[in-house]
């Protein structure tokens, strides 16, 4: 496996050549600092751009082209990494070695840039039909969050924590914001898109990477050089007294979320120690403390999980259970965290957690997207690569985990109550 970075003035191409997989994968990532008011417009823009293009003016035309290129796929998506908005175009295709057509690779690489640079627009306005279809789809995405009680609970919990924090921003904006966007205003945003975003392209596959880069350069006429010093971290403030809020839903079960701040972590704690802590505390499957106390010893729930939101500097615990068991669950979760702070876990548990985390990292070698992500975050945030991370994990001690646990402070408890019996 060979990693190489090609600097192409206005963008970089990062290539990872490997013959491990039958497919190749490209991520074209544009990044900028998050601005709350822009989130809905960006979601709409990226969706409109990946829906069709000048040469393929309907979704049907584009999908026929994908099928002609042996079921290649391209999709556009926006995501948040802490305080940064990523607008990504993801391309997957079968390795050229399986295809007889000599022009196959060129045709595949041409397509995402056709979508990006030749949108279905006339007189500086996006095609109205396309615009309306995508607009409705985004509005549906926003409304459909209500179909999932877990998502509703997390959203409300973040709002209860601090509705002005980027962590609480909705990736799709609001219905009102989407309704205000027009084909003309969206095109204005498109015109600024290349100027305001930093672009990096990541490629993994069994490809001639020099050829890939030359094809990208030939097809991507991007000339804006942008500042790449983006701040990832969201500064979610610690509270003197935790916020406790609840709401009522129409569900059978209650959903409960506890949000904790994690402040002042050094890079090793952030990238390494926290994963060991979380494995023992609540994310290590069926042997972790939360699972054992809440599910196995007290039969209060089917699943409980803790999530580390690294760039938001938060830890989130979620459980769904009966209304009458919520108080008991909160007491038990608090007790589990106290046990972590007081070191109520063994060296053996640390060793086992490290061993299992190393195995998860080994599994990343077997998946092209995971393998590539390793290099994406290494470049964006200096996250150590897999082998280095494994070495660092093996140096983690029980004391390191205890010291980290002391930096965790409860911020918010939010309960979305189920309907009463």
């Amino acid at each position: 496996m060979i990693y190489k970075m090609y600097k192409c003035n206005s963008f970089n191409v990062h290539t990872l050549k490997t013959n491990k997989f039958k497919t190749s994968h490209i991520e074209i990532i544009f990044r900028k600092q998050i601005i709350k008011e822009e989130l809905g417009s960006y979601a709409l823009l990226i969706d409109v751009l990946s829906e069709n293009s000048k040469a393929y003016p309907t979704r049907k035309d584009l999908i026929i082209k994908f099928e002609e290129l042996y079921k290649m796929s391209i999709y556009g998506t926006t995501s948040k990494t802490g305080n940064v908005l990523n607008s990504s175009f993801i391309v997957d295709f079968i390795n050229p070695e399986y295809i007889d057509d000599k022009n196959y690779l060129e045709e595949v690489i041409k397509l995402p840039f056709e979508l990006l640079q030749n949108p279905n627009a006339t007189n500086e306005e996006f095609d109205l039909k396309t615009f309306n279809i995508v607009k409705e789809r985004i509005k549906r995405e926003i409304k459909s969050i209500n179909d999932n009680s877990f998502k509703v609970c997390v959203k409300k919990a973040f709002e209860a924590m601090d509705k002005n924090s980027p962590t609480a921003y909705s990736l799709f904006g609001t219905i009102e914001e989407i309704d205000k966007i027009t084909p003309d205003s969206l095109y204005k945003l498109y015109k600024k898109f290349f100027k305001e975003n930093v672009c990096d392209i990541f490629v993994i596959g069994n490809l001639d990477m020099d050829e890939v880069v030359s094809l990208i350069k030939k097809n991507f006429k991007h000339r804006y050089i942008n500042n790449s010093n983006l701040v990832l971290k969201v500064d979610n403030k610690v509270k003197k007294k935790e916020t406790i809020k609840s709401d009522i839903s129409d569900n059978i079960q209650a959903n409960m979320v506890m949000i904790y701040n994690i402040k002042d972590l050094n890079p090793i704690e952030k990238n390494i120690t926290f994963s060991v802590f979380n494995y023992i505390f609540g994310n290590g499957g069926l042997t972790c403390k939360l699972y054992q106390r809440i599910r196995e010893e007290n039969s209060l729930c089917y699943s409980i999980n803790s999530m580390y939101l690294k760039y938001d500097e938060l830890l989130l615990v979620h459980v769904s259970l009966e209304n009458s068991n919520v108080k008991k669950a909160i007491t038990l979760i608090n007790k589990c965290l106290k046990e972590m702070v007081s070191g109520n876990f063994t060296e053996e548990e640390v060793k086992d957690a490290v061993a299992n985390l190393c195995i998860s990292l080994d599994l990343a070698y077997d998946n092209n997207v995971s393998l590539l992500n390793n290099y994406v975050f290494n470049y964006f945030d200096n996250m150590p690569l897999i082998d280095e991370r494994k070495d660092m994990l093996n140096k983690t001690t029980r004391e390191d985990v205890i010291n980290l646990a002391k930096k965790i402070k409860l911020n918010t408890v939010f309960t979305l109550k189920g309907k009463e019996e």
Binding site: N19, K20, F21, K22, T23, T58, R59, K60, I63, I64, E67, E68, Y70, K71, I94, Y98, K129, N132, I133, E136, R137, R140, K143, S144, N146, D147, N148, S149, D250, N251, I252, Q253, G285, L286, T287, R295, E296, S299, L300, C301, Y302, S303, S320, L321, E322, D352, A355, N356, C358, I359, S360, D362, L363, Y365, D366, G418
Partner: protein
């Protein structure tokens, strides 16, 4: 050891049968680090009534899933998870309508993980205490399913399509079913079905197949198995008619959803293997209702629908084609879908393109140890053997074959289920 070659894919599957009757299927990929082992039992949520000799057993819904949960207890104090944790195995299990599977991912200590998988599944340790404890957990799991609108839509639509079949029931069982499960039910199911002759092991990834089969043989030699009692599953005869032609209900969703299900007896399709039937119906639906169809494009452009998906399933002796649509215009959509189903068409050009795309997808399956593992399990459960000529079967499909299938798709039994948002949710 038998080597089964997969035509046109340059892949092979190893097949081995142990002395006690357990079949082992293996696919080796030396480019990856990990391996996935799944020990599957041909017993799922629909098998609630069965006969051994003259004795008939009837167990509550949800027993297969309940047994899968408590199977992980190896003794009063030790669970299989504790043991897998020590050797770095990532173990889990799942229950489907037709089978139950215990799985473990390993990147190291692969032999130890395999031994442990066999040890814990073939360890008949069940107590009343563990059943009492697990009931609370599984009832919460069933409640989670009942709170999920998409699960509710799936099962409510099945209930409107199938009158008596056990496919109508939640795999976990409803909370009331779960409360009825007792130790005797668990033991009866385990003793009857968890026999090597009714099970199979699938291993995919990086390993030595000869070493693995030796380990399996040695491990099983240490265990005692009674003679396989060859149970017979008793099924309710599913009537030809659907349950309800049209049902409207309100649930917790943001957008109205229509499920349009067509139920067709399999005996309508004469001399066609099930595997071919499923592929051909899938091509017909893809060409007529997929993203490259004029029909879907028009509905989207006229903003009559947001999404439209289709599914093809075999439930006992019936083929069920289901279209699932998000739309605010239910009456118009129901009419248009009915008209389109009555006028299905195929062009040579579309067929050729779709076939090429399907072949590419088939090649790509052999990049993923999880996908290949699932594919082998599906083949064994649904067909009883490994399908070796899938690529050829796709290549050989002609327009005339699809036209014949279209002629057999009769629309006598259609169940339409409409799910509307509750009043407090806007649409």
């Amino acid at each position: 050891m038998k080597e089964i070659s997969l035509e046109g894919l340059n892949e092979k599957i190893y097949e081995y049968k142990t002395k006690c009757g357990l079949k082992v299927y293996m696919w080796v990929n030396e480019k990856v680090n990990s391996c996935l082992m799944s020990l599957s039992v041909k017993y799922g949520s629909i098998h609630t009534k069965f006969k051994v000799g003259k004795k008939v057993y009837e167990v509550p819904n949800g027993v297969a899933h309940f047994l899968e949960h408590i199977k992980f207890n190896m003794s009063d104090k030790v669970t299989a998870h504790d043991e897998f944790y020590k050797i770095g195995g990532d173990a889990n299990a799942f229950t489907t309508f037709k089978y139950t599977s215990y799985i473990v991912f390993a990147t190291s200590h692969k032999i130890d993980n395999l031994k442990l998988l066999l040890d814990f599944v073939y360890n008949p340790y069940f107590t009343k205490k563990m059943i009492t404890k697990e009931k609370g957990i599984i009832i919460e799991e069933a409640n989670m399913s009942n709170d999920d609108p998409y699960t509710k839509i799936f099962y409510d639509s099945l209930k409107n399509t199938l009158q008596k079949s056990n496919y109508r029931n939640l795999i976990t069982g409803e909370p009331e079913d779960i409360k009825q499960i007792e130790l005797e039910h668990i033991k009866a199911v385990y003793n009857t079905f968890y026999h090597p002759e009714n099970m199979f092991l699938t291993i995919t990834g990086n390993f030595n197949p000869y070493e693995m089969t030796q380990v399996v043989e040695e491990s099983l030699a240490k265990k005692e198995f009674a003679k396989y009692c060859e149970p017979i599953i008793i099924k309710e005869q599913e009537p030809k008619k659907i349950t309800e032609e049209y049902v409207e209900s309100t649930i917790n969703i943001a957008y109205p959803r229509i499920r349009y299900a067509v139920k067709i007896p399999l005996n309508k399709f004469k001399n066609i293997e099930l595997i071919d039937l499923k592929m051909m119906v899938s091509l017909i639906m893809n060409i007529n209702f997929g993203s490259t169809s004029d029909f879907k494009e028009e509905l989207i452009e006229k903003e009559l629908i947001n999404t439209m998906r289709y599914a093809i399933d075999i439930y006992d002796e019936y083929l069920v084609i289901t279209l699932s649509i998000n739309s605010n215009y239910k009456d118009e959509i129901i009419k248009r879908i009915g008209d389109k189903l009555a006028n299905l068409t195929i062009t040579e050009k579309d067929l050729k393109r779709k076939k090429n795309a399907d072949i590419a997808a088939l090649i790509l399956q052999y990049d993923d140890i999880e996908m290949v593992n699932m594919k082998i399990q599906d083949d064994i459960i649904n067909e009883g053997y490994i399908i070796t000529d899938l690529k050829e079967r796709i290549k050989n499909i002609e327009k005339v074959d699809l036209d014949k299938i279209i002629d057999c798709i009769n629309l006598d039994n259609i169940a339409i289920s409409v799910f509307l948002p509750k009043e407090n949710q806007e649409c």
